[in-house]
């Protein structure tokens, strides 16, 4: 047997490790098909991050809205935050799910970068995220006025992404 062959596992592993290293900070940037599209947003009863009051699924109803999953540990969320502020200023309803995060850090974050959300849920242990099939933060769900999930975007929202999502969002009841 040639010693050369014995290097094959090492080479394979090096390629794999290189791939890991290059993808370590990448987040999925495009729309993932979600089995939840067309389904009602899951029932929940959780406390609001800002006020500590109980919010439920009923508080999402009435007007089309975005539900944004974010966390302070996620650098991409920081990148998308100013764009969310912009959308909120245009009058678009955005609800936040603060995902697997620490409340203190989250409140501080909203105080320093501005708060585009109507309200935020603290999903500290990721329970709601589990039900939503959240893949990583940030993610954004498009909801119609009856609380049905109409679309899902994985990765940050920005002007380019929004130019494709906006027509879809504006057409929702």
């Amino acid at each position: 047997m040639n010693r050369f062959i014995l290097f094959v596992p090492l080479v394979g592993f090096t390629i794999l490790a290189g791939l890991f290293f290059l993808t370590i900070d990448r987040k999925d940037k495009d729309v993932l098909p979600s089995p939840l599209v067309g389904q009602p947003f899951p029932e929940f009863e959780m406390v609001s991050l800002e006020t500590g009051e109980v919010v439920t699924r009923d508080d999402l109803l009435g007007k089309r809205a975005l539900v944004n999953v974010w966390a302070t540990w996620c650098p991409t969320c920081k990148a998308e935050h100013s764009f969310l502020n912009l959308l909120a200023a245009e009058g678009i309803r955005i609800y936040g799910i603060n995902y697997k995060d620490e409340e203190r850090k989250a409140i501080q974050w909203l105080a320093s970068y501005g708060n585009p959300y109507r309200w935020n849920l603290s999903d500290t242990n990721g329970q709601l995220g589990l039900e939503l099939g959240v893949y990583g933060a940030p993610e954004t769900f498009l909801l119609d006025s009856r609380g049905i999930i109409r679309g899902r975007h994985v990765g940050d929202l920005n002007a380019r992404v929004w130019s494709t999502l906006e027509p879809e969002f504006e057409s929702l009841p």
Partner: protein, 665 residues
Amino acid sequence: MLTEAYGALSSIPEFGQLALIMAFVVAVFQTVVPLWGVHRNNTLMMAYARPLAAAQALFLLVSLVVLAWCFVVDDFSVTYVATNSNSALPTPFKISAVWGAHEGSLLLWVALLGCWGVAVALFSRSLPLDMLARVLGIMGLISTGFILFTLETSNPFARTLPSVPSEGGDLNPLLQDFGLIVHPPTLYMGYVGLSVVFSFAVAALLGGRLDAAWARWSRPWTTAAWIFLTIGIALGSWWAYYELGWGGWWFWDPVENASLMPWLVATALMHSLAVTEKRGLFKSWTVLLAIIAFSLSLLGTFLVRSGVLTSVHAFASDPERGVFVLALLGICVGGSLLIYALKAPTVASVGRYDWLSRESFLLMNNLLLLVAAFAILLGTLYPLLIDFLGMGKISVGASWFNVMFVPVSVMLTLIIGIGAVSRWKTDQTKRLGRELGLAAVAAPVLGIATPLIVSGELNGQVILGIGIASWLILASLLDVWKKCRGQLQRIPSLSLSFNGMILAHIGVAVTVVGVTMVANYSQEESVRMSVGDSHTLGDYRFEFVEAGQIRGPNYHADAIRFRVYDNDRLIGELMPEKRRYTARGSVMTEAAIDVTLFRDLYVSMGEPLENGAWGMRIQVKPFMRWVWLGTIFMALGGLMAMFDKRYRQPRRSAPSPSAIAEATA
């Protein structure tokens, strides 16, 4: 409760941290001193390996106990306790909350690594000192890396000072369950146990003694780790089945895949070690498997925490941790593969074997297990790769894994049947035909008969599944019959490792039966029901008797009492619950399950509807228990093989001719 004023904070958590730092220092010594001793041929320094391993384990256990203590006394000044516990949490769950999230489970991981180190120090009296020093030195190196990782990026003893919360955030309700008390430690024991085999392999490579003695030392450790992995995976599947509330038992989630891959490779390794020990063949292959098995268990444990792969029930990922984990993986896996490339023997092994022999069947089994493991690895990493190459997004669903995994399992099951009865070196088709002819005829008959009896119509999957399972069971039983020469009372006097092998192989068949039946004959319906309603599914009638409320220690629950009738005979009551945990306001579905050996009746609550009605999910799952029963057989079989007397005999540095002659397993 922490009742003292801020100034009177308990300092116990600091002792936990101090113990962890001490463990780190000891681990550094455990790496340096024995390995330097080997280098300088200094017996005294080599002899330090044992006491250092014991000291390291002691400090790690102190650290773990301190963390558990912080949970038990509700010390919410510790951030990790405050995020994962609550004063209303029952005490057993407070203890299991120690490994309920990233930091604590990492501490558990390193503590178990320390325990395996002590086990090696204790049960290796007959190991040559330089080998022992190398093994424990390498284990010390692994410890050093992972304790440093814990201290640097994931310290479980960090405090929330100066403002100490008065109440904790509670443990994730999904994890408040018996299954989660036992599942992670068992699985981690398996993962970490593979580090022993890994260390033996690297030590043998470094020392240039990749021989039958090395294989003999490695075998019981491999089997021990494999037993823990087997039970750990089965517990995880069982937990998901009753706790997630939808009756599935395997989801091909990255975290599950992460546990299955090392299991498959460890299975291959156990068999390959047998060939290396008995026949001195496949040395380079076996040592590579030992490295791959531990690498995959590292990859599995840590990839989901690094931000490279995300799973819905993963830990919050953090790029800083990711880089650290990658560096550790690079050193462990890359380093060992480099040593392998430089040191593995290139000379062809001396022994010869025919294509029709036990060696070839074991080799085929090895290749199939590796194919299965790499198919899963590929499926887990494929989305990442495709995305990286800019070829778009894909999700690899359960169907892909099933397409890959099922054919391989079928072939494996067929080969186990032949391989286990075949002879070393060379065998004859005629002899194998005589041994297995009966099984080969009876298996297809049983396979075809089963679907006809159960449902009255033929079903290809059932014929195949039951056919191969019958083949394996019959082949194993015929083998026993032959070995005990038709006298059943002689079975106990056959070697433990032979009986263990038979039991484990029958376990595989039992699991195959369970999977086949559940996949093909489960019945499931979602129905709207209110008080007094009945719903019939298969032979069973489910009667909605009453709905009410239950108050638990840290939750309120809606509950429904069902009576279940088998045709008209009352067979029991089932009470599914929907719990709302007060601390987080999160809702959990508690399924109610009526269990017998041949079917599970599974009732879980969906959404409340108007007028007191509920959406109910009712399932009848035949042979569900067999899926896990098979794994229990496998684990027991492994246990028997591990306690075979030849591992307890005073060991020789090379197997004597009699050891080769006694070859059975």
